[in-house]
């Protein structure tokens, strides 16, 4: 004889009712929208009237509204207990409602009936009447159907069962489980499901996701952000699943979570960044001690392949945007050309090789803070090759000329740039005492062009509209505009190998309120 699971449920007055008590018990689990359950309500009422003073009576319903309707429809003498959490239904492992259990006074299972089989219920009534030495229930058995199959218990509903199982196992995982048949190739399956960016994914098994979750102290069900375009809840768990697929390690998770928070702000506008035909993509820059701790590459080949941390952190963010946010090429992601940064683009700044304030300090964080900054960039890294300049003013001038092509050489005040200055160029700039402000000023100086040169013309219609220029004075047309509306639109970081005089630049998208504003978020310390 097996022991039935103990439970504690609330009755209709909110009083706690516990099982087992000190008597034999009848336990019936049912739900209101099941016709068979409604058929047995009068039977249960007659059982209660006949045996209610000698056995404990537990009738539990699976939905709150349903319990109210059962009360209105049948007005039973017993209280309908609240199993809307389905914990008892799950613990009793039922597939079907109604399920009726008879236990002895020790809580041991004596009998279990599933659905309604008149003969079985009638036999139970006789047995109870005999054993309790009392009258049998008053009931016109012949008026009842011989057999009714019952309905599926809510506790085995595929949308609910996994959560109940996880709760019962005390697992932090709540995501839907997907079983891949042994004959299927799991890698092909994930491609077929549309989870992939085009490259193979690491299967996010529960074990791998649990391991990934060790990378944060945050609750797996915490909603980190609501992610456009589909406004999906980006929980820590969902982000961890995508991080596993990207090939990330648990120690990278904090960076990924912070990046998700950053891109889901109104300022960053991930909806527009993904949707634009221009083809923008997040570019992540990591600062602080975490760079070394998780083995990011900030030196040779920093913007290229070869570093697991750089590559998979950037990829995890993109996969999360794809799978949680729902931004997919051809859907709401509508880039004309796309760009390879849409696979991944994440790199750390080489702060130790940087004679100036690193990016996160410029943006108001402490030097020891770990910070991720996200930019919306449409192209890059484009190289600025200057192996010749030996003075800071020459080199900063070169950097400026190299940035003229951002958007289009005739497009001034149009966008921002993220300039990645290589160490050899840093040495040239610092030798003449150049600060970041000096670099920015020099870039603005060498890119200044009179408006007259920026007016639409036979070579290109891009730039200042002819109609606007027509109403301007000659003096106004000679006013010089630098490339960038503000010096603050020139973001500067240091990274790359010690050898080589090649700096790089990422070109922005629609900058500011009109499009995207770069956002920094502190990374959780674990």
């Amino acid at each position: 004889m097996s022991q039935l699971p103990a439970f504690l449920l609330s009755d209709e007055n909110g009083e706690s009712i516990s099982f087992p008590g000190d008597k034999a018990a009848l336990i019936c689990l049912l739900k209101e929208d099941c016709p068979t359950c409604n058929e047995v309500m009068p039977v249960l009422e007659s059982f209660y009237r006949a045996f209610g003073d000698r056995v404990d009576f537990y009738v539990a319903g699976q939905t709150l509204e349903g319990n109210t309707r059962l009360r209105e429809r049948h007005n039973p003498s017993f209280s309908i207990l609240d199993d809307t959490s389905l914990k008892v239904s799950f613990a009793y492992d039922i597939d079907t409602v109604p399920s009726l259990f008879l236990s002895d006074d020790q809580g041991n299972l004596a009998k279990q009936l599933t659905g309604f089989v008149r003969r079985e219920w009638q036999q139970l009534a006789r047995d109870l009447s005999d054993s309790l030495d009392t009258e049998a229930p008053e009931l016109d058995w012949e008026a009842l159907p011989e057999w009714r199959v019952g309905c599926g218990s809510l506790s085995v509903d595929p949308l609910i069962a996994d959560r109940l199982r996880a709760e019962a196992e005390n697992s932090p995982l709540r995501a839907r489980k997907i079983e891949i048949a042994p004959a299927d190739d799991e890698f092909e399956f994930m491609f077929d499901q549309g989870f992939s960016d085009g490259l193979p994914l690491v299967p996010p098994t529960p074990v791998r996701v649990l391991r990934m979750l060790t990378g944060t102290k945050r609750d797996p069900q915490e909603v980190v952000a609501v992610m456009p375009p589909n406004m999906g809840d980006a929980t820590v768990e969902k982000i961890a699943i995508n991080a596993v697929m990207a090939g990330a390690k648990p120690e990278y998770l904090g960076v990924i979570l912070a990046a998700v928070e950053a891109v889901c702000t109104d300022e960053y506008n991930i909806h527009g960044v993904m949707a634009t035909t221009m083809g923008a993509s997040p570019v992540m820059v990591v600062n602080g001690p975490i760079r070394e701790r998780i083995g990011m590459n900030m030196k040779l080949g920093v913007l290229g392949q070869g570093s697991r941390a750089n590559a998979t952190i950037g990829r995890a963010l993109r996969l999360a945007i794809r799978n949680i946010g729902g931004a997919k090429p051809g859907g709401t992601e509508r880039s004309t050309l796309g760009n390879p940064m849409k696979f991944t683009m994440c790199f750390p700044e080489w702060e130790e090789r940087n004679p100036w304030d690193p990016l996160h300090v410029e943006r108001g964080f402490g030097a020891d803070d770990c910070v991720v900054t996200v930019f919306a960039m449409t192209s890059g890294p484009t190289l600025i090759v200057d192996q010749s300049s030996r003075t800071a003013s020459q080199l900063a001038g070169s950097l400026g000329l190299g940035l003229e092509s951002a958007f289009h050489p005739k497009a001034h005040y149009a966008t921002e740039v993220l300039l990645v200055v290589c160490p050899e160029h840093v040495d040239t700039l610092i030798r003449d005492g150049y600060t970041k402000a000096d670099i920015r000023a020099r870039i603005q100086e060498v890119t200044k062009r009179p408006i007259s040169e920026l007016v639409e013309n036979e070579v290109s219609a891009v730039g200042f509209p002819k109609s606007a220029a027509a109403s301007m004075t000659e003096e106004a047309l000679q006013k010089e505009l630098p490339k960038f509306k503000s010096d603050a639109d020139i973001h500067i970081v240091v990274a790359g190998a010690d050898a080589g005089k090649f700096s790089g630049a990422f070109h922005g998208w629609a900058t500011g309120e009109i499009g995207s504003i770069s956002v920094s978020r502190k990374i959780e310390e674990v």
Partner: protein, 92 residues
């Protein structure tokens, strides 16, 4: 058997019904410019043509603050409450 966890938001998309098409354009017609370059050129021309060809319609012009973001709720509401038809100029 390999079990993996669903990486998506698991949300069921909301099914929205298309307003029944009457086959006739009458009443108030909204033209929404998303503020992309030259979108207004297209919509100006469209307004002229609609006004020439359809008698008794009223054309109301609207524009989004920026093409990079969804239209603000207040603008959507205003368009919905004051118009029978809408044409949006995507300009791409």
């Amino acid at each position: 058997m390999t079990t993996i966890l669903d990486p998506t938001n698991e949300a069921e998309p909301v099914a929205r019904q298309i307003t029944p098409r009457s086959g006739v354009i009458t009443g108030r017609v909204a033209l929404l410019d998303i503020s992309k370059p030259r979108g207004n050129v297209l919509l100006d021309r469209l307004e002229t043509l609609l006004s020439e060809r359809l008698e008794g319609i009223t054309v109301n012009r609207y524009s989004k603050p920026t093409f990079t973001k969804p239209a603000p709720d207040a603008l959507r509401r205003e368009i919905q409450e004051n118009n029978d038809f809408i044409i949006e100029g995507l300009a791409d």
